[in-house]
């Protein structure tokens, strides 16, 4: 595939984790991001389900892209995504009924996660299976990482525990607001601030390097 010539497998994988992180950089998938990250385990299971759906859909879309007519591609992507979501929904209900109960409606709502449809339209439908899988793996790991960092921060501060293991002993007064919806917005806002600050610092540093090189020539 000509279009894949300039791609590097490793780069396609890591870009989703940091440079193009779906949550912190692209700000996609906000609905599960804010709704289910009140504990680390919920965040991890949600991230795992999303990883399964994105990898599965990207594989099918990349493998069958020749047979997917352009006019109905979005409908077909949605059918593929919805099928994987239903599989994930029933599997979780059978294997982890407790967590499934807490995640509730947000598992079926993975269908509406624009990160997943976005990857099909922007990447999987234009590239080979190998790169599509790398892209899907990187993007979903970036998503898992984002959910997990938000979920663990909120659980530690809001409940004084991580994975339901108490961390601070009896005297700790939990910041209940952190596991309520406002806590999600506050934490996400602070993390986005941090990401943008790092990106700005990196850009300034690179400019300095370029300038220094130019002066030394």
């Amino acid at each position: 595939m000509d279009r894949d010539k300039n791609l590097d497998t490793y780069q396609e994988f890591v870009k989703g984790i940091w440079r193009d992180n779906p949550v912190f950089v692209q700000v996609l998938g906000m609905c599960p991001m804010l709704a289910v990250t009140n504990s680390a385990i919920n965040a991890l299971v949600m991230g795992g389900a999303t990883l399964f759906v994105l990898m599965g859909s990207s594989f099918l879309v990349a493998a069958f892209k020749k047979w997917i007519p352009k006019q109905v591609r979005i409908s077909l992507y949605i059918i593929i995504i919805a099928t994987f979501v239903t599989v994930a929904d029933y599997t979780l209900l059978a294997l982890l009924p407790g967590v499934h109960k807490e995640l509730g409606a947000f598992i079926p709502l993975i269908v509406a996660n624009c990160m997943i449809l976005g990857r099909q339209e922007a990447f999987a439908s234009r590239h080979g299976v190998r790169f599509a899988m790398m892209d899907a793996a990187g993007m979903s790991l970036g998503f898992v990482l984002a959910l997990f960092s938000l979920g663990s921060i909120r659980e530690i501060l809001g409940n004084g525990s991580l994975f339901n293991i108490p961390l601070f002993g009896e005297t700790f007064e939990p910041w209940v607001i952190m596991i309520l919806p406002p806590g999600g917005f506050i934490t996400l806002g602070l993390i986005l601030l941090f990401f943008n600050w790092v990106a700005a610092r990196k850009k300034a540093f690179l400019e300095q390097v370029v300038q220094a090189e130019r002066e030394s020539l």
């Binding site: 504990s39 599989v87 599997t91």
Partner: protein, 233 residues
Amino acid sequence: MNPQVELPVTNEPGSARLALSVALAGLISGIAIIGIYEATLPTITANKARLLREAVFKVLPGVSRMQQLGFVDGSLKPMGEDDEAVDEDLTLYGGYDTDGRFIGYAIPSDGPGFQDTISLLYGYLPGKGRVVGMEILDSRETPGLGDKIYKDAVFVANFSNLVADPEIVTVKKGTRSAPNEVDAITGATISSKAVVRIINEGQARWRDKLPAPGQEPPLPDPAETPAATAGSD
């Protein structure tokens, strides 16, 4: 738009092919969904039955066997696996000890909570007129506040020896003084009151239907209904 740009349209697939590809995808998707449904259904059903059995044993201390009972034709009758004609509001669970002696009822009840329906199971000893346990089966109360109705051991302990007649009353935390009063949870008053109201509604529904103490339906012969007894996993 320039008509010359649109020329390639003639080479594009017709409506029939588009419809066919969507129909085919739908068919494959349907088969996949039926497959996963059939594959997981036994586990899901078993999980639900196990959770219910655990809840019955929790709300009725000392119980080791249970039997679903339905209110049919004016009296309580044991229900088999296949009897589904009885309204769910008119079924409860009888708890028996290892010798098959009746101990108490585990009564399911539900009603609106703060955010969504709360469904719970409570243990009731008809001889003493007391509630001896309460377990939340399903709820979507606020994490950190309303979910204390099942996470806060102090609140749950309110229901371990509670006079249920004529009515259970919610009082402000720390002011419980009578045997029919429940200390509400600070910050989750609506959820606490909802739990008490749901139990009161369950009591009101069953008050005239339960047989006189001592007349409870006996445990059917376990040899005939093995699925109804404990430890039949």
